[in-house]
Each structure stands twice: as C-alpha cells, then as structure tokens.
C-alpha cells in the first residue's frame, strides 16, 4: 500500500503541481493543499482533538485558495489530517519574516523592507554573533511558516516535514549577490530554523542537492523567468525529493 501524504504550501508548492500532474509512475499518493500568497494564514487547525484543518475558501472560491484533494473537495471545508502518514510543508522560507510581504524576492521588485536581509546585514553592525543568533531565533519564531506549523497538535507535527524554499541568486538585491551575501550566516540561520522546528517535533529537511549550485543557490536551470518559482525541471527534482521523503518518513494513519 502506498504512503499517502499531504503537501501544504503556497505558490512555490503550486509550481511543483505540473510535475505531479505530468503522470508517470508514482511511489506515493500525494494530495496538494495550495494557498497562494498569504492565504496559508487562513488555514487553521480548528480542533486539536479531532485534528482537522479548516480550509476557508474551499467552496465557491475560484481563487486564491484551492484544494487538490479529491475526497475532501466535496467536504465542508475541513481536511482530516489523520488520513495522511506524512504532512509536507513546502516553501518553508527563512526568507519570510513575520508576514508574507517580506519575501526577499519582493524587494528587488519594489516590495517592502525585508527582515531576512536585515538579519544578514545586521552581522555588520556591531552585533555580536551570540546576539545575532538570538535575533535569528527570534526571527525564525516570527516567520509565517513557523507560526503556521506550530499551531498543529503534536501528533500531526510528528508526521510533518518542512522543506525550505530555494531561491536563485539573481532574485536577490544587488547588494546581496554571491560574494557579498554571507553564506555562512545563511547556513547558520537554516540550522537555527531546523533546531526550532525540531523543538516542535517537526523535521526540517534540506534541499535536494540537484536543485542548488555550489553556493547553495537555486540553479539557473531549475527556475522560471520570474525568477522565483520552479520550472518543470526544478519541479520534477522537488517532486522526486518529496516522494523520497514521504517514503522514508515514519508515520501512520489513525
């Protein structure tokens, strides 16, 4: 019997969908709950005891929230998470501080201030490494995705895997291009993110190596022109990675 997993995410998860729809032999069953932009924040666990997720907009909302769960599509806007042995939260971005408008990739396109880069830059402002680490921890605990994940009951979190969302170097502000962006601090922040999630009982996965270059950025061949989301090649890599994760992650349905 195939493992059944739910993939929750925003537009980055949506960019994986074409690969899933593309057919081919599948080793796991995946359902996608995709809420572009800030709409993930509308998904809340409504009953920790029954462990169901409310899905506002499931009925009659053409967009922005859409759900690709065949059985639940006819339901009442709730999703029984116990149906899944693994819950994958994809697009867990260190790159989102507090609210979604803080996407780092928004800033070069005229978006608002970005806390992620503030964090990296702060390492040059007399901030000690210890204070920076504490600030990074504060930052992680205030990310949208962390708050989203932390609302789930323990029994669900134990079956959760979070995947960071890779970003290409050319989506960064000019000042943060390769060579100037403190890669060591990025990795340290990722490690802190992993620690914080593990404290919640959630596994934090790294990225598939085929997706990134030696500097840790998304390879040019894997993203679209926008240059934020994965293209078909990148989507296939992530999908295979998710399938592998699901197949190897222990868990059971109720």
């Amino acid at each position: 019997m195939k493992a059944r997993a739910l993939v929750i995410g925003n537009s980055h998860a949506a960019s994986v969908l074409p690969a899933w729809r593309g057919g081919g032999e599948r080793y796991v069953d995946l359902d996608f709950l995709v809420a572009p932009g800030t709409n993930l924040s509308r998904l809340v666990v409504i009953d920790p005891h029954t462990r169901v997720l409310s899905v506002p907009g499931i009925r009659g909302a053409g967009k922005p929230t859409f759900l690709l769960v065949p059985d639940a599509a006819k339901g009442n806007g709730v999703l029984d998470l116990d149906r899944y042995s693994v819950v994958v939260v994809y697009g867990l971005q260190l790159l989102t501080g507090g609210v979604m408008q803080n996407h780092p990739h928004v800033r070069p396109h005229g978006g608002g201030p970005d806390k992620w880069f503030d964090l990296l830059e702060s390492s040059n402002s007399g901030l000690s490494r210890r204070a920076w680490q504490m600030a990074a921890r504060d930052f992680v605990r205030n990310t949208f995705h962390y708050n989203f994940v932390s609302q789930f009951p323990n029994v669900i979190r134990e079956r959760m895997v979070c995947l960071p969302c890779p970003f290409p170097n050319n989506s960064l502000p000019r000042a943060h291009a390769v060579g100037q962006c403190d890669r060591e601090r990025v990795d340290e922040a990722l490690a802190i993110m992993a620690e914080e999630l593990q404290a919640l009982g959630v596994r934090f996965s790294g990225l598939p190596s085929a997706l990134t270059d030696t500097s840790g950025y998304l390879t040019a061949s894997a993203y679209m022109k926008d240059p934020i989301h994965l293209n078909a090649q990148g989507a296939r890599i992530v999908l295979s990675f998710i399938e592998e994760l699901v197949a190897t992650t222990a868990g059971s349905t109720r």
């Binding site: 501080g97 507090g98 201030p113 806390k115 503030d118 964090l119 702060s122 402002s125 007399g126 901030l127 000690s128 490494r129 210890r130 204070a131 920076w132 504490m134 600030a135 990074a136 921890r137 504060d138 930052f139 205030n142």
Partner: protein
C-alpha cells in the same frame, strides 16, 4: 515689608510641601528649555536614567536611539543584550569622569584602551562589562562592537536636541597604570581584581564638577545647539568601598552629585536640572517610592517622577505636548508592583556588588 512678602507659594515649605499630598507636589521644576515631541533626546547615566528614555517614548516623544537592535529581535532579547536601554549601547555611565571618557573617545581626544577580560573563553569589555551577558566570542568582535557603540554615542550628541545625563556615583575604579576608569570594579562582573593595577577613587566635588564641565564643553562644541538636562539618581549605593557606613557614604555621594548638578545648572544657560532625586528621596515622600530593599525605586515612583517631568514641561511650554499628562492611577495608589519586577526591568551593573556580599 521684607523681601519674602511677595514670593510665590512654592517658595514656602508649609503651603508648597507640608500641606500637600505627596501627589500634589507637582510644580517643583521650572524647565529652562522646551522638549517638543519632534525634538530628539539622548539619555545616559546610571541605572535610573533608563526610565527617562522609556517614558519619553511611551508618551510619543522622540527618544533618540542611535544603536538599535536588529528589527527582528524581540524586546526581551534586545533587553538582554542591552539594546534600547540607553541611546547608545554604552552600559551604565555612573560618574562624570566616565562620561568624559566616553566623550573623549567619541571625539578622538583619546583612544579606547585595548584591555579586555577573558573568562571561560569569552571576552568581556571592561568598559561595558555587562553589555553582552555571555561575553564576546573574540577580541575582534568585542573591539568592533565597542567602536560601533562609540560611533553611536557620538551620533547621539551630534543628532540630539537634548542630552540627558543622570549622575549616579562618586566612587570609582581606575587602572592606576594607564589612568582610565572602569564602570565596575574588576572582578565583580568579570575580570580579575589586581591591587597593584586597580585603584579605588572616591571622587570629590572639584574633580566631579571639572570632569562634567569638560564633558559638556566638548558636547557643546560638537553640537552648539544642544541642551543638557542633568538628574541625580535617587537609587542609593549598593555598596561602598570608602570605609564609611554605606548610609553615610551614600549621603555624601548624592550630596556632592546634587551640588555639582546644581552648580552647572545655575551657571550655564544650556544646562538644566530636573529634580527626580528630590521626588523620590525628600522627606514629604516618606520613602514610599522605594522597594522593601529601600534601594530600588518602585514603578509608581518612576511614574510619579515622569508625571512631574511632563507636568512641569507642559505647564511651562504648552506647545511641547498636545495633551497635559497627569499622574496615572498607579501613581495615585502606589502598590507593591516595582520597577524591578517589570519586563523592562532596570539594567544595573552596580547590583552585582550585592551578589558579591551574598556570596561571602
């Protein structure tokens, strides 16, 4: 007819003090300068000084912070690492000589010493011993951090409209060889006390006044438009090394500091004195604004001090605030709640001295 005949009521003890409730004694400061909400105020000094910045900010005034913590740092973490305590991350500046030392570094009249204290592999800044609760990870990190603080301190002078300084101590510890001063005796927070190298100086009036005057002259040269507001900390000494009883040492210390502040405020138009010391310590207040330890000031005491501050300021300069500020309910009914118990509790390195006693 005598010259007292036409004096206002506030000149007479009985109507101005004895016949009033402690919460009605409000008009005790005649400010020389306005502090408008758009005017930038820098705050430094002993433990009590940190209340002024917070109170200004909470009432919509422009408390200048030239060395803020990173935006994503929570208030709790920022407090732990001494961000947002004073305008720059100097730590407590207890004495006028320490103020002069910081000012001299800021204008490069002198170079900050390279001395640092190493303990358990961590590096502590002798001039800000408690600024990093677990010390710095390297000498370079410490020196870089201190340089940032010095630059921020300088900016807090050049960019400020008002510079607030709270005088705290006369007792000080110096490096006898090099002549520079530490805010804390080496060995208390970190470092090692070495009698051959470290000396105790209980500063007297002439030196304290001279150092403060020199510091203010440099500040004024850096920013000719700046106004200075002096206060004296009402928080008694945690401990004295003067060989006198701590009560006597405290009275002597505060009296000298109060005299210096009075002298400069009387002689220099750009210098003013705000009587926070009197509000907490004077007989009509009966010590009610002290914690049971008779040292820490209660939240109600801080609130009363700041209420008087804004009341006097707004009375003299109504344009400085759209709304006159009255004492809050908490002020009218001082309870057990204390400044020390609040989340924004005081950062006071001097209290490490009390811990020394408890350890013996």
């Amino acid at each position: 007819m005598n010259p007292y005949k036409n004096l206002p009521e506030r000149s007479f003890w009985s109507p101005a003090v004895a016949q009033k409730s402690l919460f009605e004694i409000l008009e005790i400061w005649d400010p020389k300068h306005s502090i408008g909400k758009s005017q930038k105020v820098s705050t430094y000094g002993s433990c009590f000084a940190q209340h002024i910045g917070r109170a200004l900010r909470s009432r919509g005034y422009h408390w200048l912070v030239t060395e803020p913590g990173p935006a994503m740092m929570t208030g709790e973490t920022a407090h732990k690492f001494n961000y947002g305590i004073f305008t720059a991350r100097t730590g407590n500046i207890y004495t006028t000589s320490l103020l002069l030392q910081w000012v001299s570094w800021a204008v490069e009249l002198s170079t900050p010493p390279t001395e640092m204290w190493v303990q358990n592999g961590r590096f502590y800044d002798p001039f800000r011993p408690n600024i990093e609760p677990e010390g710095f990870e390297s000498a370079d990190e410490l020196l870089a951090s201190r340089q940032v603080a010095i630059a921020a301190f300088r900016k807090s002078i050049t960019a400020a409209d008002t510079f607030v300084f709270t005088l705290g101590l006369t007792e000080s510890w110096i490096n006898k060889v090099e002549g520079y001063e530490y805010p804390m005796c080496p060995g208390v927070v970190a470092g090692q006390y070495d009698p051959a190298q470290h000396g105790f100086v209980n500063q007297e009036y002439p030196l304290i006044r001279q150092n403060l005057l020199q510091a203010l002259r440099i500040i004024k040269r850096l920013n000719p438009a700046i106004k200075v507001l002096l206060t004296v900390s009402p928080v008694p000494l945690t401990a004295t090394y003067s060989a006198r009883h701590v009560l006597v040492a405290n009275t002597a210390s505060k009296s000298i500091l109060r005299s210096v502040a009075d002298s400069l405020a009387r002689h220099f138009p750009f210098v003013d004195y705000f009587p926070s010391y009197e509000i907490i310590t004077a007989p009509p207040f009966k010590g009610v604004f002290y914690e049971p330890n008779l040292r820490n000031v209660t939240a109600a005491g801080v609130s009363q001090v700041m209420a008087v501050f804004f009341e006097c300021l707004n009375r003299k300069f109504p344009e400085s605030s759209a709304r006159p500020v009255r004492p809050t309910r908490a002020v009218r009914h001082p309870g057990p709640s204390s400044a020390g118990a609040r989340k924004d509790r005081d950062v006071c390195e001097e209290e490490f001295l009390a811990a020394q006693r408890e350890e013996t």
